[in-house]
């Protein structure tokens, strides 16, 4: 029973990792480097969009990603622990 639960827990964790790391890759390597010329045609305030992602936006998203991961994992831990102790 516990082994089954541990497997489910790990699978869920991997799913979260894949989603969050895809976003991590997209905002930094995607928007900040690969697609920068396309995005630089748009502007927010005085910032060209691609430049903003490279020097500001990606960092804000990084902080948000860790925050989301903390919340998701805390919820998963709680569910897992209550099932395991019952």
């Amino acid at each position: 029973m516990n082994e089954q639960l541990a497997k489910q827990y790990w699978k869920k964790n991997i799913k979260y990792l894949i989603i969050l790391l895809s976003i991590w890759f997209t905002v930094s390597f995607g928007f900040g480097i690969i697609l920068i010329d396309e995005l630089n045609q748009f502007k927010i305030g005085g910032f060209k969009l691609g430049f903003w992602f490279a020097q500001q936006g990606s960092i804000y998203v990084f902080v948000a990603l860790i925050l989301v991961y903390i919340l998701l994992m805390n919820r998963l831990d709680k569910k897992f622990n209550s099932k395991r102790s019952s």
């Binding site: 005085g46 430049f51 500001q56 960092i59 831990d77």
Partner: protein
């Protein structure tokens, strides 16, 4: 009050604070010495990690680097923050669950081999020594520029302070001084940035300010692009490096960050797995405050500088120009004898050479801010250099006393004996770091990139596969680490020092610079590890069970 007096006061008060904290948090056991008794709260650990991580280079040099590189400087911003996402998601929680003291501990146990442990110790020592030499040099430089003492005297003062709290307090002492040092350094970095942002744009938030309009109604970035074009530089908001190289450098810095031993050990100091995740989040938030402000300072400083000096009469320049000329960080050579300063991209016509470090250090003077702000900046730069140096010294001392003496040479050493060994090795590590600070090896600048490349090429793949790939065995991990390490050393020495026939940027493999080569060496490590692992036998059953157990946090 004079500037000198202000500086002595600020430096004196902050140093007294660090010493006070060290006496209060003296380590009594090896667990306290290596991992602060694993009882640090996530928010305190977040601050300590941020101070540990942000070195003299982040504080003094980074904004200046970006100032001259423009968009290309983004590699540092994304590279040195994005690594924390990898740390929080792929490493920190599992290493905390594993729950030992050092990175070689994990490598040695997970790969059931003392050979793997020794390889890991060698990597940790090379990475930490290259890094720490630069920090001690930074301490000496700040002392000599601001307090007009000899650079070597500055290094000695820095050594004495670090010696005191690292040897006495171990990780426990370092953690709480780093919390104080974070507060000092972030305050020192933000105050001038906020002042200048208000002066130039009327907006107190620098992150928004550098995308706003200046007093003349023009967007600052458009203005800077225009000025750069006029003077013959590349446009500020677009780069001059190839996209592929920017990609590789960013990746190498990110992965290297996640593989640096002095950052990883910080996550051994919290109580439980969920705290390790939380403190990674806090750490990145605290780091992001400085890292999102740095590009704003870069823009403010560059515009200020160009407007103050370009095509102005040399004998009418403000006093700060004179002061920094004396330090040799600014040099002016009136090539066409017209008495005006020509600051141009063309080296034939350019008359002004500017050291990048000036952009942060002289910034308050250029913007005519009060003396106490300049003094604060000096204290902040010292806090940044000392906190990083201390974290690195602890990795060095733990590698010697724990990984080498306790785990390999003399396993029956008593707890008390190990603690003495830890203090003695910390003592010698400080002396050695001080020696390198006074006689800096010529390769210091090249080796910072090397440290990241090595961390990316050696530790990161070994740890990640140790957690996420149960089938990985010792043969695979050891051969991968050795290949990654040697490949990185080969490429770096070939193109930086001209060994193995040397070469220019035309000879770079696939156009990847030595700074970005860590990504390449990391991929080589992964490929070699996986290939070798499938040609050799599975790891023993108890190791597979160990991997199972670190994946799941215990019931709380």
């Amino acid at each position: 009050m004079s500037l000198q007096l202000w500086i002595w006061l600020m430096v004196g008060v902050t140093f007294t604070l660090y010493i006070g904290i060290a006496i209060w948090s003296k380590a009594g056991s090896t667990k306290e010495f290596y991992v602060a008794g694993s009882g640090v709260s996530p928010i305190a650990n977040g601050m300590a990690t941020a101070a540990d991580w942000m070195s003299a280079a982040s504080f003094i040099s980074m904004a200046g680097l970006i100032s001259f590189m423009g968009y290309d400087g983004s590699v540092y911003l994304m590279g040195w923050t994005g690594g924390y996402v990898l740390l929080a998601l792929l490493l920190a929680p599992y290493l905390r669950k594993f729950g030992k003291f050092t990175v070689p501990d994990f490598i040695g146990d997970r790969y059931y081999s003392n050979t793997a442990r020794v390889v890991a110790v060698i990597c940790a020592l090379i990475i930490s020594f290259t890094y720490v030499a630069g920090q001690m040099r930074g301490v000496g430089l700040v002392f000599s520029r601001y307090l007009e003492v000899d650079i070597n005297t500055g290094v000695f003062i820095g050594m004495a302070i670090v010696l005191f709290y690292a040897v006495l307090g171990g990780m426990k002492g370092i953690t709480y001084t780093q919390v104080a040092q974070y507060c000092v350094l972030i305050f020192a970095f933000m105050v001038p940035a906020i002042f200048i942002s208000i002066q130039m744009t009327g907006n107190p938030i620098p992150q928004i300010g550098f995308g706003s309009q200046g007093t003349d109604g023009m967007y600052l970035l458009d203005k800077l692009d225009g000025l750069s074009r006029e003077l013959g530089f590349h446009q500020y908001t677009s780069g001059s490096k190839s996209k592929l190289d920017v990609f590789f450098i960013t990746a190498a810095l990110m992965v290297g960050t996640a593989g640096l031993p002095h950052v990883i050990v910080r996550f051994f100091t919290v109580k439980k797995v969920s705290d390790a995740r939380k403190s990674a989040g806090w750490a990145l938030l605290f780091i992001a405050i400085l890292y999102t402000t740095a590009p704003a300072i870069a823009v403010f400083a560059r515009i200020n500088l160009i407007e103050t000096v370009s095509e102005k009469r040399y004998d009418e320049l403000p006093g700060w120009f004179d002061n920094w000329e004396k330090t040799g960080l600014l040099t002016f050579d009136d090539k066409n004898k017209d008495g005006l300063v020509q600051y141009l991209a063309d080296p034939q016509l350019n008359e002004l050479i500017i050291d990048r470090d000036i952009m942060v250090m002289a910034n308050p003077e250029i913007a005519e801010l009060p003396n106490w702000v300049i003094a604060l900046l000096a204290a902040g730069a010292l806090a940044a250099a000392l906190s990083t140096a201390a974290g690195l010294l602890l990795v060095i001392s733990a590698s010697v006393s724990h990984d080498l003496i306790k785990k390999i040479i003399k396993p029956d050493v008593s707890e008390k004996g190990e603690l003495i060994a830890a203090r003695v090795s910390a003592f010698f590590a400080v002396l050695l770091a001080g020696y390198f600070g006074i006689n800096p090896p010529g390769f210091v600048a090249a080796t910072v990139a090397l440290a990241f490349g090595l961390a990316a090429a050696s530790f990161f793949p070994a740890i990640v596969m140790g957690i996420f790939y149960k089938r990985m065995n010792k043969e695979g991990a050891i051969s991968g680490m050795i290949v990654g390490l040697l490949l990185m050393l080969f490429y770096m020495t070939k193109f930086k020092f001209g060994w193995f026939g040397g070469g220019t940027s035309d000879d770079w493999w696939f156009g990847v610079s030595p700074e970005g080569f860590g990504t390449f060496a990391m991929l080589a490590n992964f490929i070699v590890s996986l290939t070798v692992c499938h040609l050799t036998s599975k790891p023993p059953k108890e190791i597979q069970e160990l991997v199972e157990s670190i994946r799941i946090p215990s019931i709380e």
